[in-house]
Amino acid sequence: MFKEVSLGQYYQADSVIHRLDPRVKLVGTLLYMISLFVFNNIFCYAVAALLLASVMMLCKVPVGYMFKGLRAVLFIMLFTVVFNVFFTTGDILFEFGIIHISKEGIKMAVLMLVRLTLLIVSASIMTLTTTPNRLTDGLEKLFRPLKLFKAPVHEVALMMSIALRFIPILSEETDKIVKAQTARGAKFDSKKLIERVKSLIPLIVPLFVSAFRRASDLALAMEARGYHGGEGRTKLYPLKYEGRDFVSYIILALYVAVIVFLGIMSARIVAFLTPENSYLTLFF
């Protein structure tokens, strides 16, 4: 019932993308997402898609996995497409009763679709190629400067990795409790919403009690093994930048430069490419 809970859907493979420092991947994905939001013209998207395609080629993850994430947002995608197509005003291309489809509407819908796809696929690639542990390590290192403002960076990172470690244990426990309560006549599959919510109480209460007990045990075990906060800790796998990481940063910088350039110049390029009344204007 709860077996399919899987966070951090890591796909084990041996590729350059897998070996990249998690910080590079985090910064890269973030910049990439920002670039998709700031500039929305076809040239920028073309360059962005090109970059994504080359990363996809390099990362040795089956394409199906990368697009899996899209299923979750399928509804949102349909929603945006429908809204943009039917409710954007502009040059009417087609009209039927109250329905009117404009050129701008179609353009917006297509751009949104492309943007969402690129966003989701890029985020999927990051989680598919980075273990949750490396991800938290990367976050810890990246946010280290916040320590100056007394932010508990190390603690939050440790909490995240412990949470990830306990997800399968707690989901197994949930399973056990569900079975135990079902055996005693509890029903978890009522059709009525209120009853269904109520039926969760005999599940949640024991789960919380046990989670707290585990937390207290774990704290004791950590203390017994000499844990005393992030001060003076070393790492089994410290994050260290290597040649490929610097190369990736350079590629990233180039990408940003190209995107910014295209973003600013797009109007002129469009004007240059499309003489008045050309059919091509539909695309821009």
Binding site: T131, P132, N133, S161, I162, L164, R165, P168, I169, R214, D217, L218, L220, A221, M222, E223, A224, R225, G226, Y227, H228, G232, R233, T234, K235, L236, Y237, P238
Partner: protein, 282 residues
């Protein structure tokens, strides 16, 4: 050389009601004194609520005695400054294997202790490999702890303590949640550690079978030490052990019953082989 020395240790839990007023005092450990020689295999036996786990937590400075003193390798556990050194000298393994594994991969978990000690990366790697080899878990180095059996998880926990290079390991009912195979695995690993590496083992348990090979047994009852001696000395007092709600190993019990029925069998029998030999000689 005494690795652990406890002198008149008393520990009290204070029960409070909802307003925080003192409702009563539970004396979990009552005037316990014991010495442990370096390199020994010591067992502390006791039924539920005998105070054995509470006492164990004193050996690694998790709990501090209300009265009395505990010395670990000459260091007073009350000494705040030495706390890290004490925890490194006397490592501790707990009952529930799931609740003491921190890492998501076996090697990362074993590295947790050395990481806390600030050991350089290269050396951590060596220690992790060495510790996992010692407990026979090296082939699982890259596995997720969730995919291991209970006994294997417990061996990983032991490796996690070993990687800190302790002189002494305290195990608080490490086998209580394991199946018989897992129990055997853990006990075998502990004996090897004791015999090959010379590490002092303090095993806290209520399974008497596990204590057969120890150098010395302490039996705790209601917070104090009720019996102490070699396994042979302790197990020969079958009726007394029953009073403390402990069950002697089946083979010892059988020999004891046979003896009561008039068979000429020596006072205390610990293994099947001893009993068969004794019966043959009858």
């Amino acid at each position: 050389m005494k690795i652990i020395k406890a002198e008149k240790v008393t520990f009290e839990y204070i029960r409070r009601d909802e307003e925080g007023n003192v409702e009563g005092i539970n004396r979990a450990v009552d005037n316990v004194s014991l010495d442990v020689k370096e390199g020994d295999f010591i067992s502390i036996l006791g039924a539920n609520g005998s105070g054995k786990s509470t006492f164990a937590k004193h050996l690694n400075s998790i709990l501090l005695p209300t009265e009395g003193t505990v010395w670990v390798d000459g260091m007073d556990t009350k000494d705040e400054e030495k706390i890290n050194k004490i925890r490194q000298t006397a490592g501790m393994v707990f009952q529930n294997p799931d609740n003491q594994i921190i890492g998501q991969v076996v090697d990362e978990d074993v590295a947790f202790g050395p990481e806390n000690m600030g050991i350089p990366t290269e050396e951590i790697k060596e220690r992790v490999e060495e510790a996992l080899k010692t407990v026979g878990m090296y082939e699982f180095i890259k596995r997720s702890p969730n995919s291991l059996s209970g006994g294997q998880k417990q061996r990983v926990s032991i490796a996690g303590v070993l990687a800190m290079h302790p002189k002494c390991i305290v195990l608080d009912e490490p086998t209580a949640m394991l199946d018989p195979t897992g129990r055997k695995e853990v006990i075998r690993a502990l004996r090897a550690l004791n015999e090959v590496e010379g590490i002092t083992i303090i095993l806290i348990t209520h399974y008497m079978e596990e204590t057969v090979y120890s150098d010395k047994i302490f039996v705790m009852h209601k917070g104090s030490i009720a019996m102490e001696g070699t396994p042979r000395e302790v197990f020969s007092r079958v009726d007394e052990l029953k009073e403390y709600k402990l069950e002697v190993p089946q083979i010892t019990l059988l020999a004891h019953t046979l003896r009561q029925r008039g068979l000429r069998i020596p006072e205390c029998v610990l293994t099947v082989k001893e009993l068969t030999d004794a019966i043959k000689n009858c």
